[in-house]
Subunit: 252 residues, 2 copies
């Protein structure tokens, strides 16, 4: 059972402004909620209709992840709380946490920096790529799609809960770097097939429409590109970044 | 000006059944229509509101691609003909052409075969990847997302008009091959970093949920995988295929 005020609170989290005000975000859908529970993501509230079976209740021999009590609600309440025209059987609320970037963190390991990547699906895909290639962290500039947007979390396929992400002032953070290569993905860079092995580096992916911003370009030490053999105008940001990561990792 | 019957005909093309019956498909949006016109794609009908400016009318010194007369319609007519709640200023109708696969074609060059890839965005992305890496052709099994679905064409970013695509009975076509390697993208294959150079090959990408089908598996000569360094469960089909293509092309 949900009060009218509770339903309105959950619905309001569609908008970033309200998410920031309340420090909460919503995620809906059997698949994504299962993925995040499996990743031991700690939700603060879970609402479900009677159709929903808690996946951890089915897993034998696996300790149940920490979780709140599941509040059972009616299909009608779910329809009113949901952000979608076709609601699923489960809706979970999480607490927004912004993890500060520790000083000098970028001097160690491989970081992926997203500079104005505005498509939520692309941001989620890039989190998944970062996890696959075991990058040490992902940096988001303030004008990227909001990390707590449902589309970002869905597209990340659970990587949202496992990858370290920091929202930063990207030019200011790159300014502090100490002899760490900053590679920019660009159509006019050096071929990724000729890269040298790099233990520590920042790989920058720019926005879908206008590429890497002027303020970030000042800190790029080398542009890299995926060699093109045919006629397509560009590659999707997630694909280009994944190919660069594959080429970096094969050298290590 | 559009008659009620014409509006209904255009609207009906939302469904694959009607597209197949009429042999027509629809594409909407300034960006995608421009991309296809720039690729010299020959539409049979173009409807636009007064807001639409024909992009080729602006390009100086470039011969206008072949095209039908643009029929100007009102915003209200566009809203009724459009497949979307928020219609754009242009809607184009094209003729569905299924190009037969010439005999023995797969013995020459690199082919990308999609086996039950059901997400329209993934199919479009894979067309774009095929064009970037200059693959010779793309094969679609009959259970892939429909090539003439707007989402496929949109996601292909114009590659739809430039890549050779054949819808085929995939196991039957692979059965006919003569000493051509058939690589299957799989999580348990050999690392793509250890591939040998291949001038002629078919690369198979399976469905998002269940991978490569049993009937196609009988024809795979080698499974290949993108080495995983971190914890993500899988890579998106488009990303995995693009990384395999990058590794094949660097060897040539």
């Amino acid at each position: 059972m949900l009060t009218k005020a509770e339903i309105q609170r959950v619905r309001s989290l569609r908008e970033k402004k309200h998410r920031e005000e309340l420090g909460l975000f919503v995620i809906e859908g059997e698949k994504v909620v299962s993925e995040l529970l499996a990743a031991n993501y700690h939700f603060s509230e879970i609402y479900a209709t009677d159709d929903w079976t808690d996946p951890s209740a089915l897993a034998e021999g696996i300790a149940a992840p920490p979780r709140p009590h599941v509040v059972r609600i009616s299909a009608d309440e779910m329809a009113r709380a949901s952000h979608f025209p076709t609601p699923s059987s489960v809706l979970a609320v999480g607490r927004i946490r912004h993890e500060a970037l520790p000083p000098n963190a970028l001097n160690q390991g491989l970081s992926l920096a997203l500079d104005g990547v505005q498509d939520a699906g692309n941001v989620g895909t890039l989190l998944r790529v970062a996890e696959w290639f075991a990058l040490d962290r992902v940096l988001l500039s303030a004008d990227c799609a909001d990390l707590f947007h449902q589309k970002v979390i869905n597209a990340s396929m659970g990587s949202f809960a496992r990858v370290r992400v920091h929202t930063v002032d990207l030019p200011a953070v790159l300014e502090e770097l100490n002899h760490v290569p900053v590679l920019g993905c660009d159509l006019t860079g050096k071929s990724v097939h000729t890269l040298d092995a790099l233990d520590h580096a920042v790989l920058v992916v720019g926005s879908e429409g206008r590429g890497i911003s002027g303020a970030v370009r000042e800190h790029i030490t080398e542009y890299v590109t995926v060699p093109r053999y045919g006629g397509a105008e560009s590659l999707n940001a997630g694909i280009a970044a994944a190919i660069v990561c594959d080429n970096l990792r094969r050298l290590q």
